[in-house]
Each structure stands twice: as C-alpha cells, then as structure tokens.
Symmetry: C2
Subunit: 131 residues, 2 copies
Amino acid sequence: MISTKGRYALRVMMDLAEHDGEAYIPLKDVAERQNISKKYLEIIVKELVGGGLIAGVSGKGGGYRLCRKPCDYPIGEILELTEGSLATVACLAAGAAPCERASDCKTLPMWAEYDKLTHDFFYKKRLSDLI
Amino acid sequence: MISTKGRYALRVMMDLAEHDGEAYIPLKDVAERQNISKKYLEIIVKELVGGGLIAGVSGKGGGYRLCRKPCDYPIGEILELTEGSLATVACLAAGAAPCERASDCKTLPMWAEYDKLTHDFFYKKRLSDLI
DNA sequence: TATTTACCTACCATGTCAATAGGCAGATAA
DNA sequence: TTATCTGCCTATTGACATGGTAGGTAAATA
C-alpha cells in the first residue's frame, strides 16, 4: 500500500512541474492548490530536498524548484525515497537482515520476480507522463 | 508490503498441499513443522476456512485439509483473503468510498494499470507452482 | 466418558501513519 | 539595518495495524 506520504510527494512534484519555468515556488502556494496541510508537506518536501530531487531557497522570494526536467524523474525514484522501499516482503527490502530461511524458502523466487516487475513498471513511468 | 499474515497463510497452504492425500492434518503438526505459534495460526486458518479455501474437522482424528487440487488455488486468492486487498492505493481497494478527486486525479490511471499487473501476476501463479 | 481437536473472546505491547503546534534560522527586498 | 518572508527543526498527538499471548468453550470420535 502506498501511503499518503508517497502520494503527496507525487502531487508536489507534479505541482512544481506544472508551475515550472520562472521563479521559486513557495510551499504555501503548493499547499493551497493541492489542499494539503503546509506543515505536513514540510516533512515530505524535506525528504525530497535530502534526496536531491528538488532544491529549496530560503528568504523572501524563495521556495522550491525542480532540479531536472520532468521527463528525467522516474516515478519509482520519488516513491522509493518517500516510502522507504517498494519491496513486497521485508526480507527483500533495502537494508534488511538476510532471512535465515532464505535458502529453502519456496516463495522467495516469486517475491523477487514480482519486485522486479514493480521496479521496472515504476522506473519506466516518468513524472512527465502524469502531466 | 505483504504482512506475516499473508505469508504464513501461504506456508500453511503449502504445508497442507505437501501432506495431502490421506487424513486431516492437525494444526499442531503444521505449527511445529513451520515453526509458527499455533495460537497465531488459528487466527489465520480461521480466515482460510471462512473463505472456503480449506475445511476443518473437529474431534479426535480431526484437522484441516485442502478443498481443491493445489493447481486450482491462485496465489492471489490466498493473499487477497488474508491481506484484505492487494490494492496499491486506498481508493482502489474493494469496499472503498469513491474518492472525490477521482475525476481529475492524474495519477489514478497509473495505479489502476499497476493494480491490473499485480492482479494478473498473482492469479496466474498457482499453489502448485510453489511446491 | 475421556481425550483430542477446532473454535471463540479478550487483551496487550509495539510501531507506524497522518497530522498538528510552536518556534528558530537564514536570506532578501525595502 | 530592519522587517518580512521563506525554509527548517523538534516535539507531541490520536488513531490504527501488526504480531502476538492467554484462557476458555464446543464438538466429535476412539
């Protein structure tokens, strides 16, 4: 299940892409347009900055702006950053401890196959495909 | 993320399939073989019975048994029953209230496409494929 | 009748989700 | 330089889900 965090992140990225070009965009404007609490968006936007997806500038006239062209953002990158991982089962997540049953686990190949399917799907889709 | 509930359910079904044929299989045996708390398995097995996937018989010599041949169980059916839904986002889940933003939601088609991919994947895979 | 089994209800500890609240820091326009 | 506008940081909260545990009842058969 994709949580609000990942979904809101996607909406922020889309909003920034649609109002791209001129100046930095204040978070307040994004929050009002998307009808999401600005305070909650701050948490999400912080992660997007930390992951190098967007850039923020403080002070009067500041705000946020995309770092790349919309077609250079795979959806999977946005979701993985905000959701932590797209892995289906815990033992296949990024920094997970290796499962001791892995060697004779009969379901592992299925999960791995599905994870690859998921990864390919969301990395082929770009931010520009949603606008 | 698939929780332990869905994963344990899969292991129970596989265990029943592997020890199929003769008599009813006591839950105690399954719990010991799979190294899962019998009490916790009771919760899961109850749902499998309720969904018509397995049959339970009380009394001495009782236990559980598959209702169909292993190749007639799609993995997706087992997971959907125990996990509630395989939907990626809340608004596409089974009994969800229709989202008011649905008509102009630019991400909905993507989620729907991914959900179909997921559904197809797990309904093509059968219990017999895992043994 | 005694045993073995399924089945039912309640409880709990931990963690995550989805926010809210209040304030600090930093940069720019005036 | 100062006022203002922005990002940024640290807690705190209530609700809910997860992953169990505990104790007991009902039912069927050897």
